[in-house]
Amino acid sequence: MYIQGVLTVAMINIISTAGLAVFTGFTGLFSLGHAAFMAVGAYTSAILTYFVKAPYLLALAAGVLASCFLSALVGYPTLRTRLRGDYFAIATIGMGEATRVILENLKITQGARGLPGITQYTTLPVAAAAAAVVLLLARNMLASVYGRNAVAVREDAVAAEMSGIHLLRTRMISLVFSAGCAGLAGGLYAHYLAFIQPVMFTMVQSTQITAAVVCGGTGSLTGPALAAFVFTVAPELLRAAQMWRLVIYGLMLVLIMVFRPQGLMGYRDLSWQGVLSLSDRLRKSVAGGKDGKG
């Protein structure tokens, strides 16, 4: 049960992190407010299943759409004025905190007390399937005009614009997709924990998603997904170390940033061909070693 729980949360974190990887890793803009998109997805879907008794899938979809809507609302004015990297990040912090405060004061969200008694629809298979679908869709998007344009904009916005790429449109599409993923993760999370509360979606949560993306590697999808998994599972494995747990976690982050500032898999992705060729090379080198001895 416990292991299943950890893995379910890991799958959910993979979804939100993959979403942010599409935005931060491929457009180069930092968001420190992604927890707000999770919150909106979580509350929208939970309110629908709890008060309206809507079907689970429909509620999840509504959560996704609500997050997309919020991101478009926030993204359009901020991205249009070409807020440069750091300023955009600060705008997202503001958005994140504002969203939390609103959730704490609305009647339907029951304020700071939170929503208890949400039906526990999210199981490990559900979360795993959702994560697989999200990773697949994200990969497809990144390999299409939308992803390629985003990368061009990240590499050199001026050159991209002078090559006929619309900056605003490109960044907006990435942001909305990314927020949609966060919304889905939020919906799944609400229906796993069966209880949500605004304090679950603070900047700390946002920062953790961002940390996973940066450590996993900007410009990579599988790297951040892997990092999200490790960062969820490792603290649990480290429970034996008790008070040293967070120290080790922090140390892990510092070491990655010192030794691999581009992240574990910066600008690279795992692919079947890659894995195959690697195992091929390993086999050959093992065979070569044997030959040498013989």
């Binding site: 497809n140 299409s144 061009a152 590499e155 050159a159 614009e161 090559s163 006929g164 790429i165 599409i173």
Partner: protein, 261 residues
Amino acid sequence: MLAFAECIRLSKHFGGVRAVNDLSFKVDEGEILGLIGPNGAGKTTVFNLLTGFYRPTSGSMLFRGRELSGLTPPDIVGLGIARTFQNIRLFSNLSVLDNVRSVLYRHARYGFVEALLRSPRVRLCERHVHEKAMEYLEEVGLADRAHDRASHLPYGLQRKLELARALALEPVLLLLDEPAAGMNPEESMNLVELIRDIREKHNLTVILIEHHMDVVMTLSHRIVVMNFGEKLMEGSPEEVQSDVRVIEAYLGEEYAGAYRR
């Protein structure tokens, strides 16, 4: 007759600095127009105006009879104007191939949902883009470096890659901002050949900013000389080379005086 491209009393002021002031010139279809002048004369600003990166303070720019000022850079690319940059601007973390591929998606005709599902149309487009990109790389002689990282290319080849990327936009008017900067005489003569070939093959009109006088003088049909944001003179390469005002602008009054004698 309507000019192919034309700047009419074009000005761009940054506060008190008149980067471009009351500049008028025409470009005819198919010609290579040299744009020269001492550092800070406002040449690159003219390119930034023509590509929509800056808005002119006053004046107008016509391209095939259409007003350019007020259009966004992507709109202007859509009309058929492409440029390269003085301080190379490549997508440096990407491969040589991806640099060209990145700009070939303008004609992608599939929607977002199709992209997410990676429909056959998306795959077809990918294949098409790949082939096209290789063609452009071959043209500038970079096909064998296709999978190298752009930032790992030597300087001269980076300039060629920028040229390939600009060509991939299928322009009719190409703006080259110091394509030979940092090249030795042999490399720059090589580049002259390349620019000639490309112009022939793609029916291009070219505006060329360049400090290498041998490059400008061999390539250009006509030259506009700028100084302090204004047009000093225009004429054939021969006329420009023997013009006292030009020598004065480049070398100072003293030397021009010596030349006069």
